[in-house]
Symmetry: C2
Subunit: 339 residues, 2 copies
Amino acid sequence: MSSPAAQQPSPQLFFQTINAYQRTEGLKAAIELEAFTAIGEGNTTAPEIAKRCGASERGTRILCDFLCIMGFLNKDGSRYSLTPDSAMFLDKRSPAYLGGAIEFISSPMITESFKNFTEVVRKGGTTMTDGGTIAPENPIWVKFARAMAPMMALPAQLTAKLVDPTADRKLKILDIAAGHGLYGLAFAKNNSQASVVALDWPNVLEVAKENARNAGVAERYSTIEGSAFDVDFGAGYDLILLTNFLHHFDPPTNEVLLRKVYAALAEGGRAVTLEFVPNEDRISPPDAAAFSVTMLGSTPSGDAYTFPELESMFTNAGFSRSEIHRLPPSIQQAVISQK
Amino acid sequence: MSSPAAQQPSPQLFFQTINAYQRTEGLKAAIELEAFTAIGEGNTTAPEIAKRCGASERGTRILCDFLCIMGFLNKDGSRYSLTPDSAMFLDKRSPAYLGGAIEFISSPMITESFKNFTEVVRKGGTTMTDGGTIAPENPIWVKFARAMAPMMALPAQLTAKLVDPTADRKLKILDIAAGHGLYGLAFAKNNSQASVVALDWPNVLEVAKENARNAGVAERYSTIEGSAFDVDFGAGYDLILLTNFLHHFDPPTNEVLLRKVYAALAEGGRAVTLEFVPNEDRISPPDAAAFSVTMLGSTPSGDAYTFPELESMFTNAGFSRSEIHRLPPSIQQAVISQK
């Protein structure tokens, strides 16, 4: 008796995965050629899209079919249309356009280590010299600050509302590794009595200051230039933000930083951490858990930490308690730790 | 009223896809480190697997978690185990081991064009010089013949049973672009009165002849060296096999070849084509349809053809009728065309 077809062994997952890199490159090409924008503008057949994108008809037809297979487009006869998510995030004319994020996510600084990932696994950390993405004044973070800002607006706003729901009292906030500055700026926009000190490399802070001016809160915005591990934070902060920062380092390194954070907080102050937080099984939810792979490839000893791991780092640094909050639809979570 | 979370716009697919290349590299690393074999041998925790693979514990733990997320492993507490498919296809000790296929599927000859896929889409074909994979005597095909043979055994056997179910009469078979030779050899093993002429580049035929000797059918196996477009086929064949060949070329080129195939067949002879055949929508089934992307990247004008397109090429070349057959569990299909 033979097993039903569905239960026969199949190499399908092997082939899909070994070719998964084509998905990345297909999406990048579509963004670079502005195929989503072309379709949003009303070009719906392969010849029309090809003309608008300055590309061959054959290449455009195969690319658009691939985008349908991947779920970025719909197809009706020979006409392509944007899915709601593609219209929102991949049409350049949308305020929520994310296509620019490929300048960071797909930059060699992130992808380079994956060209010899076997060696990365052997070594247990990035094979890039000088610590990969955490090298001092790495220009990748200017790219990050410019490319990733659009996708940070929503989680930043959700975080500010979560942490400062009443927005009715004076707050002194330190935004560590501020990058684009959007997290601190969301607090400043949420509460007119909030003042923000942003800390990052000087070249990155230029982007944050530009965003502060655009947000109309420049008079409540100041900066500290340098490494969070080296510079003096000042003191008396009500809130210290650690957004997408702890994942770059190992727990002992984080604890050194967190003791410094603890010391800089006022009594009753809180540290606010935003992270990809996998469950304790470390394999769910899949996107948050898989972030550990990016950290393995691009840092010497970073990781996607579970909540008990984060909690333990904060406890070891002196904090009295930590609690975790979901921020749907973001896959990231906020950990609030009390001095 | 706000929409339920599930229906909120989400950039999840964008991020999963832009990072999909990490899936490819994670799987390749696991194969190169023999992680699946290590687990099959009974090493089930990250430290045990790391030791067996000569890799760091941290890298191994993150890699194995990633393999769970991708569906190649299961995890119970801190113990990893192989899925049935991984045990069958990715443990080196399995006779159906496919890991060697990465030597072809992930070779630069296939992947190189995807490093600038935007340019490929603009141009409408491979950006590699000399026609990419279809360059004369390209050594990639020796690699193909060695690396891909293990995964061809089953579809080859299914094809032989489909085309020659009674196996009770003398058959003269031409195997065009024979590669590893497994398709022709399956017919020879299925029917002791079948003799096979294998056609390919001389360096590739060495692999086919080796496989013919191993299959014990060398005395019914002969070869023609050269390009299928140039050499004399001989005549009077009952069957001519075109397995994974037509997808490299455009329809007019294929029709030139098929007229030559038609002429070389005996009256009542049949051409047997094995291909990735998408439905007429060109976006389903997904794996067969997505094969067009590999052809766009690696050939000047190849494609994954629909059945009506294949049928039309055969009709234009003089064939009276073509019919298509599924070959589960293979995702490829067989087209049988009657002279």
